[in-house]
């Protein structure tokens, strides 16, 4: 049976950096459980801003205001404590950012260490192996777990960051252009990985790359100048977009 409440729902979500201008304007959309939803749009359209609203990253910057509602399993996260929300909503950034002073092993477990959660040695080993296996990194790094994470290649570092986010067993994984700093082969690995991971976690991914959205996502959002122009099945959007602006973007006339 399908769940009635969507795992994540935007209701008239607005984000503004200054009083005069809104970076995200009245976005409403329901994200389905265990899907990959791509957020597309030209630079500056507010897609990263919308994504960062979901794990309350904007709370770090006092001048940014977030309005409307964002429901996680039916509860509005805007009224929750950031540290509670962020344990349930993981995030992977554009540039791979493994913690430079920690080993690969400790990077995977950093979520626990940072939250003061103690694990036994066996639990630690099991978590590290499971998470690194689920990002297909285990075979490559199992003999160098005590090396620093920064020794890995860019693609491996990004997979390590995904493993680090997965270790906390989040409901939703936010990805902010996770492959834009990677070469095509590393990108392909990550994309294959995401298709696997959607069984475990709901993924919301911001991408500049239309091909990537088409390859991996089942639903797509198209944003333009802060508005959500179109939201629907990726298949439909790419073949038969309803809005003229979406068509112009997808055919390369605007971008």
């Amino acid at each position: 049976m399908e769940s009635v409440t969507p795992i994540l729902e935007f209701k008239n979500t607005c984000v503004s950096y200054t009083k005069q201008t809104m970076a995200v304007k009245y976005v409403s959309a329901a994200i389905e459980r265990n899907t990959i939803t791509a957020i597309m749009g030209p630079s500056g359209c507010g897609k990263s801003t919308l994504l960062r609203a979901v794990n309350l990253m904007h709370n770090l910057y006092p001048n940014i205001r977030v309005g409307g509602e964002i429901l996680l399993n039916g509860a509005d996260i805007l009224s929750m404590e950031p540290i509670d929300v962020r344990r349930r909503v993981g995030m992977v950034f554009q540039r791979p950012a493994p913690f430079p002073t920690m080993s690969i092993y400790d990077n995977v477990l950093s979520g626990f260490a940072l939250n003061g959660i103690r694990l036994s040695k066996a639990e630690k080993d099991a978590t590290v192996e499971h998470c690194l296996r689920s990002v297909a990194l285990w075979d490559e790094v199992k003999d160098v777990l005590n090396k620093k994470g920064t020794f890995l290649s860019g693609g491996q570092q990004q997979r390590l960051c995904i493993a680090r986010a997965l270790a906390m067993k989040p409901d939703v994984l936010l990805m902010d252009e996770p492959t834009s700093a990677l070469d095509p082969i590393a990108t392909k690995h990550i994309e294959e990985l995401l298709l696997e991971l959607q069984k475990e976690v709901t993924i919301l991914i911001v991408t500049h790359n239309m091909g990537q959205a088409k390859r991996i996502s089942s639903k797509s959002m198209f944003m333009y100048l802060g508005e959500l122009v179109e939201y629907g099945d990726t298949e439909t959007m790419f073949t038969n977009p309803t809005d003229e602006r979406t068509r112009a973007y997808l055919t390369g006339k605007m971008g």
Binding site: N55, M57, L60, P62, P82, I83, D84, V85, R86, R87, R88, G90, M91, F93, Q94, R95, A97, F99, P100, T101, M102, S110, G111, A113, L114, N115, G116, C161, R164, A165, M168
Partner: protein, 287 residues
């Protein structure tokens, strides 16, 4: 090659030589100082120079009259310097790092801006004034000169350097590092402690070493606080000696003047070693 091109290349060469010349000139004072101190001081360095306290003027006089080298050394100064430096470090390092972390994180707050400005002023305060203030604050209430008072003065002088280096190093860390930590659900104190400060360790450590090398040669503030002492002393509530204080005392005592250069050489080499070490470590951590 036409004349114009030749002309331009010639000007380029002149410029380059000029720059090299002046760059070389800046190294001259340091090399001259090092050479002078080495030349005059190297024959005073011996095992006893580091293990024995300052001789009395009478002993020195007798040795000079007999044509022998002056007995004794600067052990009292070395031990005093290390004790005061140690106490100053124990307080200044944690306080300075915490303050620097606060300033780096809250640079937009009014209070942080005021503290940051005051830190700059403290850094520019003449050391002799810090000495006299510490005299009023510590020596007078404690009714006597002491190693504690000396370490307070050194601590005040170290603080701004540690604060500044911590703040600057934290500020140049990529913002993604902090956000990545917070995105895992940690509170900002833990992210600071487990992610940001460890990542900034190289820069902070360099700052601490530079702070040490800055205050280790301070003489004026110690004159008001530690006073000096010709015995080897381990207690912290009594007057104590320090290497720069000894250099001043040797200078003022005609019988002990031969010891100036050995003490100077020791101090100079100590500071240079710290500087080289901090450069090396900074490089190593930046890789």
């Amino acid at each position: 090659m036409n004349v114009k091109t030749k002309n331009r290349l010639f000007k380029d060469k002149v410029m380059l030589w000029g720059i090299c010349l002046f760059a070389g000139l800046t190294a001259v004072p340091l090399l001259a100082i090092l050479g002078e101190v080495l030349l005059r001081g190297y024959d005073q360095l011996s095992w006893s120079f580091f293990t024995e306290p300052t001789p009395t003027a009478y002993k020195a006089m007798k040795a000079i009259a007999a044509g022998e080298p002056i007995p004794g050394g600067i052990a009292n100064g070395i031990i005093g310097t290390l004790i005061m430096l140690g106490m100053a470090i124990v307080v200044a390092v944690p306080v300075g790092i915490l303050c620097g972390a606060y300033l780096a994180e809250n640079s937009k707050r009014r209070f942080a801006q005021v503290v940051s400005y005051l830190t700059d002023l403290l850094q520019g305060t003449p050391s002799v004034i810090i000495g006299i203030i510490t005299y009023i604050w510590v020596v007078v209430p404690m009714k006597g000169y002491s190693a504690i008072a000396g370490s307070v003065a050194l601590c005040i002088m170290m603080l701004p350097l540690i604060i500044r280096s911590t703040e600057e190093t934290l500020k140049i860390l990529p913002a993604s590092l902090k956000e990545a930590g917070l995105a895992l659900g940690a509170n900002s104190a833990r992210v600071m402690l487990k992610v940001q400060l460890p990542a900034a360790f190289g820069g902070i450590f360099t700052g601490v070493l530079l702070a040490i090398s800055r205050v280790i040669g301070e003489t004026a503030p110690l004159m008001f606080t530690a006073l000096g002492c010709s015995l080897i002393r381990w207690s912290i509530d009594k007057p104590i000696s320090a290497v720069p204080l000894l250099i001043w005392e040797f200078f003022n005592d005609p019988n002990l003047q031969d010891l100036i250069w050995g003490a100077s050489l020791f101090l100079l080499l100590f500071v240079l070693t710290l500087n080289v070490l901090s450069k090396y470590l900074a490089k190593k951590w930046n890789q």
